[in-house]
């Protein structure tokens, strides 16, 4: 297999709080291959966004650190690379679309300014060429009347339009990896479908890898080739999308699926996983999902489970479920 595009190895992110450093993401490891689409799913607070931000080191300055781990990209470790090198990668090789298109665009700059900024920075285009390119990009993200819209300010656009503009900015330099952090969460359901469809088409057209973050399993199922399930700052399951939805192995993944409303079967009470996700600095012995797990055994409260392969590329972090195979 060819070397992966991006490789996360034991990535750990800590934030400074009043009580010292607290670990938000604890030893995340996975690869993203060229043209691959990896879905990252988990509840709020599971560390999905923090993981995504660490690829571009976009956490708040001064209040975060990476005590361990690497993000390998193009022969460099992005966690330790000099800011200068990172700036050349941001927006050019790896671009990001954020959750809330209302607040992610600069309200006092026109759409044209905001798109052409990236083009002029990374591709050295002059103003006129960048503007033409910006209009092409608006066309590409299916914004009608692009030549006129390009001079609008963000507040004149609807939420869906703004997210399309965000995507246009992100794909402007044809990145090799697009990170989409809950790109549809802030939008209406019908618009969500359109944006996902757009992302899918662009992914094929531009041949880029996508890391899609969502708390919506439906979105992930439709979009991703591979799924990473995160819980409390750790990867608990990592599997090809078919395998995951056919036979989820981690009790948490099972819980997530059970809590999805089914179209058939009439009105039933929706399942909810009992309890809540623990705070990052909450002391839990053994498995962090243990206290909420219906299948927890004695070993779960003692030993921290390892992320082990059970078959092929299916990895699970659950002691009872990996016991049979002993880890491959």
């Amino acid at each position: 297999m060819a070397a992966p595009l991006v490789s996360l190895d034991d990535v750990t992110v800590q934030f400074r709080t009043d009580r010292g450093w607290t670990t938000a993401v604890d030893g995340i490891s996975f690869d993203i291959a060229e043209r691959d689409c990896v879905g990252v799913v988990g509840e709020s607070g599971s560390g999905k966004s923090v993981t995504a931000l660490s690829l571009l080191r976009l956490h708040a300055r001064g209040t975060s650190r990476f005590p361990r781990g690497q993000v390998r990209f193009g022969g460099q470790d992005l966690l330790t690379a000099p800011e200068r090198d990172l700036r050349r990668i941001r927006g050019r090789d790896i671009a990001m679309v954020f959750q809330d298109p209302m607040s992610s665009l600069n309200p006092v700059l026109t759409v044209c300014d905001q798109i052409s900024e990236t083009l002029r920075l990374h591709q050295g285009l002059d103003r006129a060429t960048a503007r033409r390119r910006a209009i092409e990009l608006l066309d590409l993200v299916r914004i009608p009347d692009a030549a006129r819209r390009v001079d609008d300010y963000p507040h004149r656009l609807s939420g869906g339009m703004r997210q399309r503009v965000m995507i246009a900015i992100a794909i402007a330099c044809r990145p090799r990896l697009l990170i989409a952090d809950e790109p549809t969460t802030a939008l209406d359901v019908t618009i969500q479908a359109q944006i996902l469809e757009l992302l899918r088409e662009l992914r094929t057209e531009l041949g880029m890898a996508v890391m899609l973050i969502s708390h919506d399993l439906g979105v992930i199922a439709e979009f991703a080739d591979r799924v990473i399930v995160m819980y409390a700052g750790r990867v608990v399951e990592d599997a090809p999308v078919d395998a995951l939805f056919r036979s989820p192995r981690h009790p948490y993944t099972e819980g997530l699926m059970a809590s999805m409303p089914a179209l058939e079967g009439g009105i039933t009470r929706l399942y909810a996983i009992p309890g809540r996700i623990p705070d990052p600095d909450e002391a839990i012995a053994g498995c962090r999902f243990g206290p909420r797990c219906r299948h927890a055994e004695a070993i779960c409260r003692v030993a921290v489970p390892e992320l082990l392969a059970i078959e092929g590329r299916h990895r699970v972090r659950c002691a009872p479920r990996t016991r049979a195979t002993g880890g491959l």
């Binding site: 976009l58 671009a95 006092v108 900015i169």
Partner: protein, 314 residues
């Protein structure tokens, strides 16, 4: 834009009327009889009556107000008693001094205040931030006249870098003009820099925590562009508000500074007018300053629309 200015001018009209009436009331509200004060302690009752008549004080209150407003409408701002010249021409002579002082002071304040305020916001909760904010607090807290006198002692008397007083018109010698104004303008700026730095800092703190700043970083922009372009352009609305207040305080603060540095500006004129109980002069200056403040606010409103595309008044 023209429409906006028209609307704002119409809205300013009542304010101007109220300012005019307040200036008029100055004459009536002051303790004692202005005619007695103007005519002097030793004046005979006939002399006092003559002054009263010449000032129109023997007429009914509303009639006096009507005459006052009518004259203002005709551009007649009255005449100074002590200078024997119209208030307008007296101000016209001294305005260049005050405007030079205020202008130079703003030219110092704006870049310095905005820069250190932004730096403090960028390095929030570090020693840099604490240092800048402490200096700003000191600048805001120190009485202008006191630090101005100390500055005269140090820079003029001891070091001899700048003249301690006096003013050289720009047309006469630009270099000497600048030299005569650097010290007073800097002293006037101390308070203003502190004020502007604090305003800029809080505006920038708010902006720098916004999502679009993260977007700017994710594009690969340098910190300079991120903070200077994406950040500052959004903080500009608040900074413009601060600037409006700064221009006003520059005019007000020049009263004290002109006194300390013996600059023949409007501030000094009004102090002399008050000392000499030259009521028409004080009234006139008060009015014109009132109008100036209205104009400043109008300018601020117009600048808002240029700074933030979301601001629309119609």
């Amino acid at each position: 834009m023209l429409r906006l200015i028209t609307i704002k001018l119409l809205q300013a009209a009542p304010v101007i009327l109220v300012v005019s009436i307040l200036a008029f009331l100055l004459m009536s509200l002051l303790p004692g009889d202005p005619a007695v004060v103007i005519a002097g302690d030793q004046a005979s009752p006939e002399a006092i009556a003559a002054v009263r008549h010449s000032l129109g004080l023997d007429r009914p209150f509303l009639e006096r107000l009507g005459i006052w407003l009518l004259r203002l409408a005709q551009g007649e701002f009255g005449s100074s008693l002590m200078l024997n010249q119209s208030v307008l021409s007296a101000m016209g002579e001294r305005l260049p001094v005050t405007l030079s002082l205020a202008g130079l002071s703003l030219a110092i304040t704006l870049p310095v205040g905005i820069l250190i305020g932004s730096i403090a916001a960028y390095y929030r909760q570090t020693w840099v931030d604490s240092l800048v904010m402490t200096v700003a607090l000191v600048g805001v807290s120190i009485p202008g006249f006191w630090i101005a006198i100390l500055a005269v002692i140090l820079f003029s008397v001891v070091l001899g870098w700048f003249p301690s007083s006096g003013y050289v018109p720009f047309a006469q010698d630009p270099v000497l003009w600048l030299r005569s104004l650097v010290l007073p303008a800097s002293m006037l700026s101390l308070f203003q820099i502190g004020f502007l730095a604090r305003m800029t800092r809080s505006a920038m703190l708010d902006v720098l925590s916004q999502d679009f700043i993260r977007t700017a970083r994710s594009k690969g922009l340098s910190e300079w562009v991120t903070v200077g372009k994406h950040g500052f352009r959004n903080a500009l609305v608040l900074v413009i508000t601060a600037m409006g207040i700064l221009v006003s305080t520059a005019l007000g603060g020049s009263v004290v500074i002109e006194q300390v540095f013996a600059l023949p500006g409007v501030g000094r004129l009004v102090v002399q007018g008050i000392m000499a109980r030259d009521y028409p002069l004080v009234q006139g200056v008060m009015l014109i300053y009132g109008f100036a403040f209205v104009a400043i606010n109008l300018a601020v409103d117009v600048l808002y629309t240029l700074a933030d595309p979301r601001v629309r008044y119609d």
